[in-house]
Symmetry: C2
Subunit: 249 residues, 2 copies
């Protein structure tokens, strides 16, 4: 049996993370379907400990204690410290922005972004979440994870259009995933941000499964004239990092 109030604490964190402008007790209790009095007690505890705070309008927001906890969670990933130096070198050789992400339930979480001096506009940042179906990194997870895991995720996934090019047909998406599997890398052709073209590859860990994904992202045109070279460097880097974190396949 799971501990009810422990689970509720997590649910409160989760919902508050989606409402950075804060929520009232009522709003939280309605959204999480729990009695106001219980919500009140939990929030009081969390507030006492600095894990939530109340803003000027008395609305509850996430507290500052969670900031170093999140950073620490990121750094406790072996892939993080082992991967960074490789990503730096990848950036230098391809001269485009590099991302690394891990899977968190049905979303990806960015854990690194290596900027170039010729910077690009992108909403992705370390610590941000994005859906799987519309990003190069996300499609990499889907393409290279276990078949049944993939199907389970796809079944509960809503394919909302983000840009004009977002793939919103499940069949089309599955066809792509099969292709990526064969190619050993994934492509995101402005499916998530206008003008942004990404190439992404899987990183495997000691459990022999996909553990993370890395990508090279840049303006479509600049990327396309060097696709071959970028893919080669990308896949090489992914192999090196995989080996570095214990993959032996």
């Amino acid at each position: 049996m799971s501990v009810k109030s422990a689970k509720r604490v997590l649910e409160i964190f989760e919902v508050l993370s989606h409402y950075q402008q804060g929520l009232t007790i009522k709003e939280i209790s309605v959204k999480l379907e729990m009695p106001q009095s219980s919500t009140f007690n939990l929030l009081r505890t969390l507030k006492e400990e600095g894990y939530v705070r109340q803003d000027l309008q008395k609305k509850y927001r996430l507290g500052e204690k969670l900031i170093p906890i999140g950073t620490s969670a990121m750094e406790s990933l072996d892939i993080y410290s082992i991967g960074l130096p490789y990503l730096q070198r990848l950036m230098e050789s391809v001269q485009e922005t590099i991302f690394m992400a891990v899977l968190s339930e049905d979303e990806l979480v960015y854990i690194a972004k290596i900027d170039t001096n010729r910077s690009i506009r992108t909403t992705a940042q370390p610590g941000y979440r994005k859906p799987l179906y519309c990003t190069g990194l996300g499609k990499t997870f889907l393409a290279f994870m276990a078949e049944d895991n993939k199907n389970q995720l796809l079944n509960q996934m809503e394919l909302k259009p983000i840009t004009a090019r977002t793939v919103i047909e499940r069949n089309e998406l599955e066809k792509q995933l099969k292709l990526f599997q064969k190619l050993g890398y994934s492509i995101d052709d402005e499916e998530n941000e206008e003008g942004l073209y990404c190439l992404a590859a899987p990183i495997y860990g000691s459990n022999q499964g996909i553990t993370a994904a890395i990508s090279v992202a840049g303006p479509k045109q600049r990327m396309q004239v060097r696709t071959e070279m970028i893919i080669e460097e990308l896949k090489k880097t992914a192999r090196h990092i995989s080996k570095g974190i214990g993959y032996s396949g």
Copy 2:
């Protein structure tokens, strides 16, 4: 009354954030002085929800769910989004690294770092914690917070030497704080990192108290030849941000 298992969840997060290499159930239960069976139940719940995970050696570590939560906590601070553009301009005018931090219990938490192209070596990063007594930002909090609050913090604070110049005498520290109060800014002269000189100033919020602190950090020599100009820009920026977040003093 606070909710026991909710509080324990937070204690688990806290202790795991200090042991990025992971802890066993036993270690956690000993450190937090709670029964193993209770610890087991809580960890099972946290693991089910992705807030902790077990590494290859089965040790518990913070889970990936906490990463976006921490980022969101940072962004939910009004000072964050309001302050950043000002910090960017400050960096451009002084051409040194800029930091911003908030207070979290008895520590400071960095929430921004604006790099220059002439970069410096520093261990400080957004999301990291540092003690108050040995940093420019920390001493700013101590100097500009309410007197009784300061004394309470100083009483429970151990002044460990970090570098050769760290102030480890309480009297000496209090003398400094009084001086900083008068000056309107604080100085960290290699007290936390060799070679690093910082000037820091308080940011006040709508509650009329210190809400955050910002600093300019750079190599001692480079900083000292321009101290006056830097202090002027620093204080100007702090005033602007304070006004921006609702200070009316």
